[in-house]
Amino acid sequence: MDNQLSPSQLRLIQEYSYEKGEINRGYNNRTLYVDIGKNEFKERPVSDEMKEKFIGGKGFGLRLLWNGTKPDTKWDDPENEIVISPGPIAGITQYSGTGKSLVVSISPTTDLVIDSNVGGYFGPYLKFAGFDALEIQGKSDKEILVFIDGTENKIKIQEAPEEPKDSHELVEFLTEMYADDEKDKKNVSIVSSGQAAEHTLIGMLNFSWYDVRRKVCRVKQAGRGGIGTVFRNKNIKALVVKIDKVSPNANQVADLKPIMERGKRFTKEIRELDDEQNRMRKVGTSHLMEIMNEYDLLPVHNFQYGSHKDASNVDSKSFQQRFTQGMPDGCWLGCMMSCCKTVEGFELKTGPYKGQKVDVEGPEYETAAGVGSNCGIFDVDSILEINFYCDTYGIDTISYGTSVAFAMECYEKGIIDDQVTGGIKLNFGNARASLKLLHQMAKGKGFGVVVGQGVRKMKEKFIRDYDADPELLQDMGMENKGLEYSQYVSKESLAQQGGYAMTNKGPQHDEAWVIFMDMVNNQIPTFEDKAEALHYFPMFRTWFGLMGLCKLPWNDVEPVGNEETEEPEKVPEHVDNYVTIFNAVTGKNINKYELIKQSERVYNFQRIFNIRRGKGKRAHDAQPYRAAGPVTEEEYKSREKRYDEQLKKVLDIDPQEKSIPEKVKLLKKYREDRYEKLLDAVYERRGWTRQGIPKIEHLKDLGMDLPELIETVKPHLD
């Protein structure tokens, strides 16, 4: 994009100068607060206690958000915040997957705290510019951008240019504007959203970096929970950060040698083993498409089914042909996993950019399954086009996919009709219809806006306005806490049902992915076994979000000899790498048990944050029945043998004597009871009451008996 504007031509609203200081052992020991309504800036010190209890990343975000908001703060109140924090390990370049940012805010879809883990260079650059977190509060009356200039040690609030509006153009435009020259573009990173984020509740944020080999800007997404919607509601067009350069030890770690040693070892694993394992360097997470289809876990037609005859049309081989190969596609420097694939020169067939050739980021598994199979779309071109427009319009592909799939099922069941959709034939498989909705979301008109409110709001509307059956909609609407499910069929894995619906933020698999352990390996048969898995894995995975790390290098490549370890599913060698790296960065001396404790502190804090907001109890961990079993007769029939067997073996019921509706009902009762028992077991393991409230003695054990937390939980204790 030809850009003649320079930053100085944008009207300066407010400016702030700061002294940079030095990063020490992964921390600046300072966060940056910006009120874009009052045009105020503050530097806030980070205490040792904050580092001890909240570590960084999501922990810092939650702490700052708690302090900055009230229990009844709504997502669109000026006092709601967006906090971006990279974590102490983020920004090292000697180990793979170390450039993540964690974004938190009060979500428009859940009315709870949402957290989203995202790649791109913004988080590390924010740290190198002098801050461990960026806390944005207030609402601007005009469209602005915030520029953090780490080269001049200045922060500016500037009036944003009116055009361009969509992320793929805006990011190129601003990168060119803020970089001194072509060589300097790699030192600029942008956070932006898009037009559809303004008109829906499922807006996301794009975090950019400049791809020096392709000479284009790339983006990764902080997708979940509508933070892009909050961003646009605050009237922020972009956040820009600029630094001089990335130096090899910018984090000023306590001991670089062990990090380099572990990094080399991991790089060797990737080089030697990835091609025969998950092929992350060739196809990214899209390798999961065929695996999930083969194991009956791929969501099809709004999670009704777990596989489809046409799934091979959208398997990883289909995507591999489109992805550029042999490029180091990391979303942070030094990442050898290189799974951030892209399709270059894709010609768009619809919308405002029709006929243009663009680069499409991904798709990743979640996108391909969400906007593809779950909507009955098994065509690579359509998935790429939807992926591109979701990204540039600022829409979360996971919530989009699950919401469209729900609307499609409602249409096919006659709950909504052409009059409601404005004539859009919303049948499963109709990619054109999906794209039409997406373009409507960007324009803020038509039925697309209704779908863009997410599944919970659609349920409410369809019940209220179209006399839909509330029980049916509750059972088939795949949301919990107001967040749409991510893309795995959990029906046959009780543990994964907990892994989804017991999450703090809503059903996102980044807390726990235990389907194979439970359903396939049959490794955790008892409630206690499942509870242990739903303690360990959510806590372990939470840790990545405290540090600024990516989860994928942990278990998407398996080191030699892993199979001979006692707990191969935990990948002990990689856990040891993380403990070693944390200690080497910070100079501390934790072990793998303390690692879990670090997460537990923040995890319990987040639970109590939800309680403070009037939620976070047992009732809020309820799941839609489709996550646990067959809602309709067709679904029952698709796995009739399995379900009949369960009725016979476990409930001693002769399936021959029952009609399918009767069998659906019996199975539902059985499976819902088991889920309640799972809640009991998991709450007990996590040190919570039967209502899901963290007990005071547990908080004391964790060192989290902070007065404000005790005060919050006390009225709810049994």
Binding site: N278, Y365, V520, P568
Partner: protein
Amino acid sequence: METQQTEKNTITVNNRTIEWEENMTVRRVLEVMNYTFKMLVVKVNGRLVKRKDYDHALVPKDADVKVLHLVAGG
């Protein structure tokens, strides 16, 4: 005439019973179970079978086979 009841030869795979076949290899067990995922840990009667041995390692009847799929995903 006395009727002879032939008992089926079986093995258990992840605590599920399947029919045993003559000269059944680990690879064949994985095929029968439709375990196509690559990152597996296989143990037959508690003994680890390495990936390179799947094609020729025999599974005896009544064997207890564990096939752990390592948690990838998302």
